[in-house]
């Protein structure tokens, strides 16, 4: 077990004690067992918290849309209607599970499962903070691209298994849209991989700084455009408006989940909202500095220097919590933008959707990739600010 969160927790004083006790008890080295238990616990917490975030996402969607349309939104269940998603969940569990007679029963079950498995597996590499990444894969970005396309498979299977024409059309559209937008997304992520020389989220985040001019989005003109290409592509990959054609309610009833009722439908919705969180997190980690706190507050070194009395472990933990907060804040800001876009822009037509992907985003992303490669080669990876500062210093020096 080599997950970052476990290696972080293993610095806690109780860890060695527990390992020793269990080793005596079992008669063999219990490190692996304790690590497994620790990870199991952490994963359990993460899965639950992320499900709650997905549920709160539906609440936020309704509340923000209400706000934008000058309505009240849900406000009956719990304070400010915050527990609405729990009430919805309970209602969904009690709903009848209607299985269409001609449906493929096995695939009808597999489809929501595939969506949920794909989304939750992509949580494993999301860098919440320096000590709190579930696992630090050296192919993190590549892994994320691969696992998140399981959701596309789930959506297509949902459309196919229902044996309904609306579902089939929605599923086909979903599949073609998701694979099309995968191309610009992959290309703009490649540009960042090029700049850092690593596929690991940790290294990519550490290559940036806490302040906006140290983020990759403002590193050079190409990454600036690349961020928007990635964000638009991410919207399309999660089937969010203005790209929500697979579930376009005005033409396809409800698209790929027309025939799904109760919990099966709920899992499609939950997977979508958690996936939005994941892609917002990826955008934040790759382009917006991820968990980096301004002035290196996240490492805890400044706290140790200013207050020498503070235990180093405590300082590091305070830093970690700051990092976690910064990452979640950035992600939630992007989440808000996603919802804002949904309730502002009208849905695109299916042909203009494909034109946008293949005739605009893909060439722009290719151009960005080449631009980043040339920039890295010509300026040795210095950011545009470093270059301006240097030329400014050189010019000032020239006058004297």
């Amino acid at each position: 077990m080599n997950s970052t969160v476990v290696s972080y927790l293993s610095q806690a004083p109780g860890y060695a004690l527990a390992v020793n006790k269990l080793t005596e008890l079992f008669g063999f080295d219990a490190t692996g067992f304790v690590n497994f238990l620790l990870f199991f616990l952490v994963a359990f917490i993460v899965v639950n918290v992320m499900s709650a975030i997905g549920g709160l996402g539906t609440y936020a969607e309704r509340k923000i849309s209400a706000d934008l349309q000058m309505r009240q939104g849900p406000n009956r269940v719990g304070p400010y209607g915050l527990l609405q998603f729990l009430a919805d969940g309970v209602k969904m569990i009690g709903k009848e599970d209607v299985l269409p007679a001609q449906a493929d029963r096995f695939l009808f079950l597999v489809a929501p499962l595939m969506c949920m498995v794909g989304v939750f597996a992509s949580l494993a590499v999301l860098p919440f903070s320096n000590g709190f990444t579930l696992t630090n894969l050296n192919i993190g970005v590549f892994y994320l691209l691969g696992v998140s396309s399981l959701v596309g498979v789930g959506i297509f299977l949902g459309g196919y298994a229902s044996n309904s024409k609306w579902s089939m059309l929605g599923g086909m559209r979903g599949a073609s849209q998701i694979i099309s937008y995968e191309v610009p997304v992959t290309l703009s992520i490649l540009a960042i991989v090029l700049m850092t020389g690593s596929l690991s989220f940790d290294v990519i985040t550490e290559a940036q700084g806490g302040l906006p001019h140290e983020w990759f989005v403002l590193h050079n003109p190409f990454t600036f455009i690349g961020f928007f290409v990635l964000f638009i592509g991410a919207l399309a990959e999660t089937n969010r408006a203005p790209f929500d054609l697979p579930e376009a309610e005005s033409e396809l009833v409800s698209g790929y989940h027309t025939e799904f009722t109760g919990m099966r439908f709920a899992f499609f919705a939950l997977a979508e909202y958690v996936e939005v969180f994941v892609v917002c997190g990826v955008c934040a980690a790759l382009f917006l500095g991820g968990y980096k706190v301004p002035f290196d507050l996240g490492t805890g070194e400044l706290i140790m220097k200013t207050f020498p009395a503070v235990h180093p472990m405590l300082a590091k933990q305070i830093g970690n919590i700051l990092q976690l907060k910064v990452f979640v804040l950035k992600t939630l800001l992007l989440y808000y933008v996603v919802i804002w876009i949904r309730w502002t822009l009208p849905r695109m037509r299916v042909d203009s959707l494909m034109v946008l992907c293949w005739k605009y985003l893909t060439p722009i992303a290719l151009f960005n990739l080449v631009g980043c490669a040339v920039w890295l080669w010509a300026f040795e990876g210095k950011s545009v600010w470093t270059l301006i500062f240097k030329s400014g210093v050189a010019a000032a020096g020239g006058h004297h």
Binding site: L137, W166, D202, D351, W377
Partner: protein, 142 residues
């Protein structure tokens, strides 16, 4: 940091298992409380009140196939470029970035040619316009 040990993938398996347990568990719990009363009308596919004609598993439009083909090319290209992108910075640092950049650009330019070809042929248009038949008629008139 990350090693080549496969242990780092254990968390992935555990997370996937959690997701699967969540879905199956909720469906099983639901089975105990939810009503089960399928009627003949309830289990027909929804088609806005019309009686469904035929199966939905019929032939679908060939343009989805074209999109899938173009996607395969670009996805393989992306997969092939990941290793190059990963080592590129190290080559720049030791002063050999030019050669890698050259081959990188060559590789991309082949793909750009492919995009231009698809674009000119109209395969990137969702609704493809056929010019062929009119050309044929013009030739016949002569």
């Amino acid at each position: 940091m990350s090693s080549h040990n496969l242990d780092v993938y254990m968390p992935v398996l555990i997370l996937m298992a959690f997701a699967a347990i969540m879905v199956l568990g909720a469906l099983l719990v639901g089975k105990l409380i939810r009503p089960h009363n399928p009627t003949e009308l309830k289990v027909t596919p929804y088609e806005c009140g019309e009686e469904p004609i035929g199966s939905a598993w019929s032939n679908f439009n060939v343009r989805f196939y074209v999109v899938a083909l173009i996607f395969i090319i670009f996805d393989v290209e992306g997969a092939l470029m990941f290793p190059v992108a990963t080592v590129f910075k190290r080559f720049v640092e030791i002063g050999q970035g030019g050669a890698i950049l050259g081959s990188f650009l060559l590789f991309i330019s082949v793909l750009v040619l492919g995009v231009v070809y698809c674009w000119k042929k109209g395969d990137l248009d969702w609704v493809k316009s056929y010019q062929v038949s009119t050309d044929y008629n013009e030739k016949k008139d002569k």
